[in-house]
């Protein structure tokens, strides 16, 4: 049938075969909006004449972007979401439950083969579990809350094959930073990306999520990871690309020699090998976001910080969800990190979006495990933000300058 993963999933949801370039009206399996996007979506839903949701079981509202509320305006937006979910009977994840994309995956609101719409740009994260996740704005989401459908253009696909075993200390984050540099911030604009190859097939779900997540940093509509080796806690039917699928571009990389990668201010494509920025002084380190603050990320940080003590640099950690926090509590990871001097904050987006807590000061340099370092992203346009893997962030926090973990 020479179909890409996108063409297969979207054909199923269009109820007819579709190919790249086609415009299709498709049914949607689930939607999600956050406190950054749900208030506008609720407003638009009402303006559309919405009285009830197309399927309240398939709608999740998640308070994670400015959580708990930092002021009365945000508090009232949160209240609007709580009131709406009560009225409509849809699911609400309140403060502290976690980051939207983590919750949607953890609670299996999205499953392999699904088409899922999230009113958040990192919705391509769900490509990690072989689902087509698209980031949309509030009005698009409202329309799906009403109709259970959306319209879209079936994207062309870029195929990226990654071969070779990553060196010790080199992670999925380093891989995706490298790829964002190679493709550029609009390298996949309007297109889908498929990630395949031996390097990918051995990866954990968390690592796959970090990769799919940052495909949005290339402008991708979806970032689909080859389901070979995908390990989930429920049975599923994987969707593979056909051998003769048509791609707009095919790239192959041997990543066995890849060094840890760092994105310099103020763009996630401004990526260099860590060697070029070693010794850069940092005042503030952050481990968080939908990219990198799952259990394996906290383990990587704890491995670096076990028995050590932070001195000059402050380290803030926002675990991806309450479940991640509890798991890390039970296995002793939280104790190690707390003993080292890390500050834990509410599970949620936290400093990544610059909406409330953890804003850097003028001229301060930040090393962060997040996905974007646009000017002003963390709430202060006069700060310099560098992006790296959780292990690099932890090691740099300890050293007070950018260093490679031992």
């Amino acid at each position: 049938m020479n179909q890409t993963i996108s063409e297969k999933i979207l054909s199923q949801h269009a109820g007819k075969p579709v190919k790249a370039g086609d415009i299709a009206i498709v049914r949607v399996d689930g939607v999600m909006a956050t406190d950054a996007t749900a208030p506008f979506a609720i407003k638009a839903f009402r303006q559309m004449g919405g009285k009830k949701l197309w399927d309240s079981e398939r709608v999740s509202l998640i308070i994670d972007h400015a959580s708990p509320a930092p002021n009365e305006t945000v508090a009232n937006l949160h209240k609007l979401m709580r009131d709406f979910s009560e009225e409509m009977g849809c699911r609400l994840y309140d403060i502290g439950e976690g980051i939207c994309h983590q919750l949607v995956v953890e609670n299996a609101h999205v499953k392999p083969g699904d088409l899922f719409l999230g009113a958040d740009s990192h919705t391509p994260t769900y490509g990690a579990l072989n689902a087509f996740g698209i980031g949309v704005g509030s009005t698009d989401l409202a329309a799906t809350m009403l109709t259970g459908k959306t319209w879209l253009k079936v994207p062309k696909t870029i195929k990226i094959t990654l071969n070779g075993e990553l060196k010790k200390g080199v992670t999925a984050k380093d891989l995706i930073l490298f790829l964002v540099k190679e493709l550029g911030v609009e390298g996949a604009n309007y297109q889908a990306v498929e990630f395949t190859g031996e390097t990918i097939k051995g990866m954990t779900l968390a690592s796959r999520m970090a990769i799919a997540n940052m495909s949005s940093e290339m402008g991708a509509k979806a970032g689909l990871v080859d389901p070979t080796g995908l390990d989930l806690w429920y049975p599923f039917e994987p969707t593979f690309a056909d051998n003769d699928a048509e791609y707009v571009r095919e790239l192959t990389f041997d990543v066995s020699a890849l060094r840890p990668q760092i994105a310099k201010p103020h763009s996630p494509e401004n990526v260099v090998a860590i060697d070029e920025v070693l010794g850069t002084k940092v005042q503030y380190a952050f481990i968080g976001s939908c990219t990198n603050t799952r259990l394996e990320d906290l383990h990587a940080a704890a491995q670096v910080l076990k028995g050590k003590k932070l001195t000059s640099t402050r380290l803030i950690i926002a675990p991806a969800s309450k479940k991640v926090f509890n798991d890390a509590l039970k296995d002793g990871t939280i104790q190690i990190l707390s003993d080292a001097g890390a500050t834990f904050i509410t599970s949620g987006c936290g400093p990544c979006v610059g909406s409330h807590l953890g804003v850097p000061g003028d001229g301060e340099v930040v090393i962060s495990s997040t996905n974007r370092n646009f000017q002003g992203r963390m709430g202060n346009p006069k700060a310099q933000v560098y992006l790296g893997s959780p292990a690099v962030v932890a090691a740099s926090a300890l050293a007070g300058e950018i260093v490679e973990p031992e």
Binding site: A44, D140, Q375
Partner: protein, 182 residues
């Protein structure tokens, strides 16, 4: 041939029937103007449009929100609106008075959001527009006219589905009218 009329006046809310209202261009020949620069995340947690308008593009040009007049056109480089899915970005531009955004290319979520809220956006790869030029836009034919320089530029054609949504004045009005995607 089907004809798609885009009376610009309907987007500009002007009391005129002219299809070709000329307005002033504000040009920022910069690539990758992201949504954090269009409206920083710290200002987005509100449903108050005027509050958004007063901070639009402030990290790029602190004077922009004071300079822009109702109906003006914003001109930018490649990948305008990359980054977050925040609809507050096109809303802030529209609330500040911007009637059309012209860019070489747009990031996909911004492009969709703009159409959905009834802010026309148009991709023009080659042009010679400078700040202060008097511009008119014919969305029906995808043509941008620079009256100051007496030049015209060709734009990329939009998918029909988007034209239908724009013609309705945005996705809310489209769904009020049709009740479903058609």
């Amino acid at each position: 041939m089907r004809k798609h009329l885009f009376p610009l006046s309907s987007f500009l809310n002007l009391e005129t029937n002219s299809d070709m209202q000329t307005t002033t261009a504000h040009v920022y020949p910069v690539d990758n103007i992201d949504t954090d620069r269009i409206i920083p995340g710290k200002y987005t947690k509100t449903l108050d449009m005027s509050a958004l308008a007063s901070h639009v593009l402030e990290d790029l040009d602190p004077e922009f929100s004071k300079k822009v007049q109702q109906g003006d056109i914003l001109v930018a480089g490649n990948n305008f609106g990359c980054g977050s899915s925040r609809e507050q970005a096109p809303i802030a531009l529209k609330a500040a008075g911007v009637s059309v955004v012209v860019a070489k290319t747009f990031a996909r979520i911004f492009y969709r959001n703009a159409i959905n809220i009834g802010l026309p956006v148009i991709e023009v790869e080659h042009h010679n527009i400078q700040s202060g030029d008097s511009i008119s836009i014919d969305l029906e034919h995808g043509v941008v006219t620079n009256h100051t320089k007496n030049e015209t530029y060709q734009a990329t054609k939009m998918p029909q589905q988007m034209i239908d949504i724009l013609n309705a004045g945005g996705l809310v009005n489209y769904l009020v009218k049709h009740g479903d995607y058609v």
